[in-house]
Amino acid sequence: MTVRVQSDTFDAGVELNAFAQGRRDIGAIVSFTGVVRDTDNTLQEMLIEHYPGMTERAIKEIVKTAIERWNLADALVIHRFGALKPGAPIMMVATASAHRAAAFEAADFLMDYLKSRAPFWKKEITKDGAHWVDAKEQDEDALKRW
């Protein structure tokens, strides 16, 4: 298991290649990369606040649950905090498993839990001001799938 909470950026390709290297029991690797989106070309910066201490602990618990439930060979979570520019990577999840269904489901599960249960809060700084991103009801509902 790899869990990193950091302000530094990361290279998703390098992380994907380093993940779960050299094991012969892995047939499927799924990765998710979250990127700062700016469809309307109005975003100047995204600020991500977190709860130091609780963050890593909460993520490790979620990852441990996923590894056990889907019998994963390995799992990775990287999540950034601080000031991020449009196009920058926010976070990444990767799962490795013998078969593809487990890798897909576990990555989907991890994303749902990170969205609503890991202590991060996003604030968008636009030309017109700053506002905290609202949690979506659908994100909370998504947890009921599991």
């Binding site: 709860y51 999540h79 976070m91 991060f120 809060w121």
Partner: protein
């Protein structure tokens, strides 16, 4: 007891953390105490359903007892990922 605030809860209250002495038995009672203190607390805790609480860095409910807890955190629903 240490209380920590995040995101817009922190902004409304104006400080990231503080030490408080309390006789409150539950989170809910502590919230009522704080709301009675000053307008900025009343504003931050106006709608409890929009808030989450963690006791010693574990998510909890507002009716949870707080005896023996050393850190209470208040924050809006998380928006990670």
């Amino acid at each position: 007891m240490n209380i920590v605030y995040f995101a817009w809860v922190r902004e409304r209250i104006g400080i990231p953390q503080e030490q408080v002495e309390t006789n409150a038995q539950t989170v809910q009672e502590l919230v009522e105490e704080l709301k009675a203190r000053e307008e900025r607390y009343a504003a931050a805790f106006a709608d409890i359903s929009a808030l989450r609480v963690a006791l010693d860095q574990e998510l909890a409910e507002f009716d949870a007892p707080i005896a023996g807890v050393s850190e209470i955190a208040f924050f809006p629903p998380m928006t990670g990922g």
